[in-house]
Symmetry: C2
Subunit: 354 residues, 2 copies
């Protein structure tokens, strides 16, 4: 599998993004949704910010307060009683968890799909109690002339998936939580199937079950039902630990039939690594897997993929497919955005019956 990484990689980095507030700094820009819009490629970036360090030291967290409608910055001294900062992503104070960084979504535009200009202010910021810890990992689906954006909303109520929409990437409308916690990595198909909207989603069972890819359908994009398992982690394979949706599925011609291709992420348990693979799904029943990647189509290999905020990660929320070229935009090491061109024919050739 030849993945041709752009020589310009990483194509978007934190130094290209203005902080949303003077007391915050951008620490990561990754896991962007992607779409064509007019003559441009648009990325909807996940921008991760942390409170600026103070000279006096200490540990800090940002949180959106739905009562005051403001982002508040909490700070503690390292020796605070009952404080646990052993996980760099979180700080636990007397049993309450806070995240050390908070994400919002930001638009970036490019004429060539490689060189992006990042807008100076957020497109979507945390704005209700389900988003108090931030909003993450958007996917963009063009349907009925509207761009539907689903994203992960994180708060002390758990990890949910919420929906927004736009026609112009300037004004956005919110449509609430569409998958209750714990659920993320939702990808909405770009066509109705059998008269209903369809999405892949990734519930995270507790106790029983492993994170797997499910399918659901909807009459209106708001309410979702008919939940079924599509694919699970494969013992002994590169995706043996857990799997979840990646980019929005797109229609392909394979063999003598049309089908859906869904690029997903799989996690290798040891050594831990997030890689990408593909599922070929039945055109009329996308809950049915026709074929699946034997080996990853993209895995962490370069320095910017192996080292960052969370190393050994390539993770996609969006791609642009044109003729044989599948241009995958992906977050690398939870820190920067990168892009690679793959051959659709090669992806299809690497599939086996499940």
């Amino acid at each position: 599998m030849n993945a041709i990484r752009a020589p310009e990689n990483p194509i978007v980095t934190p130094d290209m993004v203005l902080a949303s507030r003077p007391d915050m700094e951008v620490v990561g820009v990754f896991n962007a949704g992607a779409t064509r819009f007019g003559d441009d490629t648009v990325l909807l970036l996940r921008v991760s910010e942390a409170p600026r360090k103070l000279a006096s030291g200490g540990i800090s967290a940002a949180i959106y307060n739905a009562d005051t409608r403001r982002i508040e910055i909490k700070r503690w001294m390292e020796n605070t009683k009952g404080l646990d900062a052993s996980d760099p992503r979180a700080v636990i104070v007397e049993g309450t968890t806070w995240l050390t960084s908070m994400s919002h979504l930001r638009v970036a535009r490019s004429r060539d799909g490689i060189h992006f200009e990042v807008e100076g202010t957020p497109a979507l910021s945390p704005s209700n109690q389900y988003e108090a810890f931030g909003i993450e990992d958007p996917r963009i689906t063009l349907l009925d002339g509207t761009y539907w954006i689903n994203y992960t909303a994180v708060s002390q109520h758990g990890i949910t998936t919420a929906l927004a929409s736009t026609k112009d990437f300037r004004t956005f409308e919110r449509h609430g939580v569409i998958f209750p916690p714990p659920n993320r990595d939702v990808t909405i198909f770009p066509e109705k199937i059998g008269g209903r909207y369809v999405a892949l989603h990734r519930p995270m069972p507790e106790g029983l079950g492993k994170p797997s890819i499910w399918v659901a359908s909807s009459p209106d994009l708001i309410s979702w039902g008919n939940h079924r398992v599509v694919a699970t982690a494969r013992p002994g394979s590169w995706d043996d630990e857990k799997i979840g949706g990646g980019a929005v599925p797109f229609r392909v011609h394979s063999g003598n039939r049309d089908a859906w291709l869904a690029v997903y992420h799989g996690v290798t348990s040891s050594p831990a690594a997030y890689s990408l693979g593909a599922l070929l799904l039945d055109l009329h029943d996308p809950g049915k897997v026709l074929a699946r990647s034997r080996e990853p189509i993209l895995k962490p290999e370069t320095a910017y993929e192996r080292e960052g905020f969370y190393g050994n990660v390539v993770f996609t929320c969006g791609l642009v497919a044109e003729a044989d070229i599948v241009r995958i935009y992906y977050g690398a090491a939870d820190a920067v955005m990168a892009v690679a061109d793959l051959s659709l024919a090669e992806i299809l050739a690497g599939l086996s019956e499940p």
Copy 2:
């Protein structure tokens, strides 16, 4: 709070229920849905069965095999390598979890609401891959002339909520998984509100968040959206550990207004106990809590509530409310069915603003 337990309690016990197969025995009958049907009170019992012990000993589990469409019994010797039977509810063999008992649903009928006749065969049994470990905890909602039954479907894919329906409690139609894992304790309101069906549900967040009561709405009972948090565990109170739906909400008149009363379960962390309380919900926006029980309306006190398969548990899936009498059917200690009559006026008097 005066809860008048029936002198006949427990009203349904395992010895009143025929096993579904000769190689299984009934070990529990509890957590029944309840409704009026004609002149009868109908309970839809959760009947828990375990494989009969063999003289040669060993540990066993039952599972529905969706490929062969049969229930299979697995048996292991206690000294099997990689076997963990430290939790009596489960056996883990080389990382795979099996449950030591499997539940199905069974109809029981009564003219007086106290003395029940239990049907000889199951009404609903595990019958697909989401039900491989059993089906549990049904709730019954009469809507548009049909009895809608939601129940917990348990399998290695996780704990989900599925939907069935009946008009006569003789034939049943299945409608698939309506809430993906991990989600249980769903209660569907008996009227449309604002043109949509409404349900309380109980997602179980992983890592972030505690099990709480959420509300969702639906155009068709199949697809659910608009998820919002309704109520959470209260530190320092009798429901400090976690909460979830109980009986189907019913309409009451309180003060100068109509509202919904939802009897829910709350768990006390120490000592561990499942008790019942009530939420008064806004008639037009049942996601809004008007008032909540200061103290439990029913808590484990009698021998059959304190000792059983899982002690210190009273847990309701259904009640029958007529005038001032709220007749709560409840599972006691995950072993038997019991019933208690409460005064609606007393329940309402025990509520405080949240």
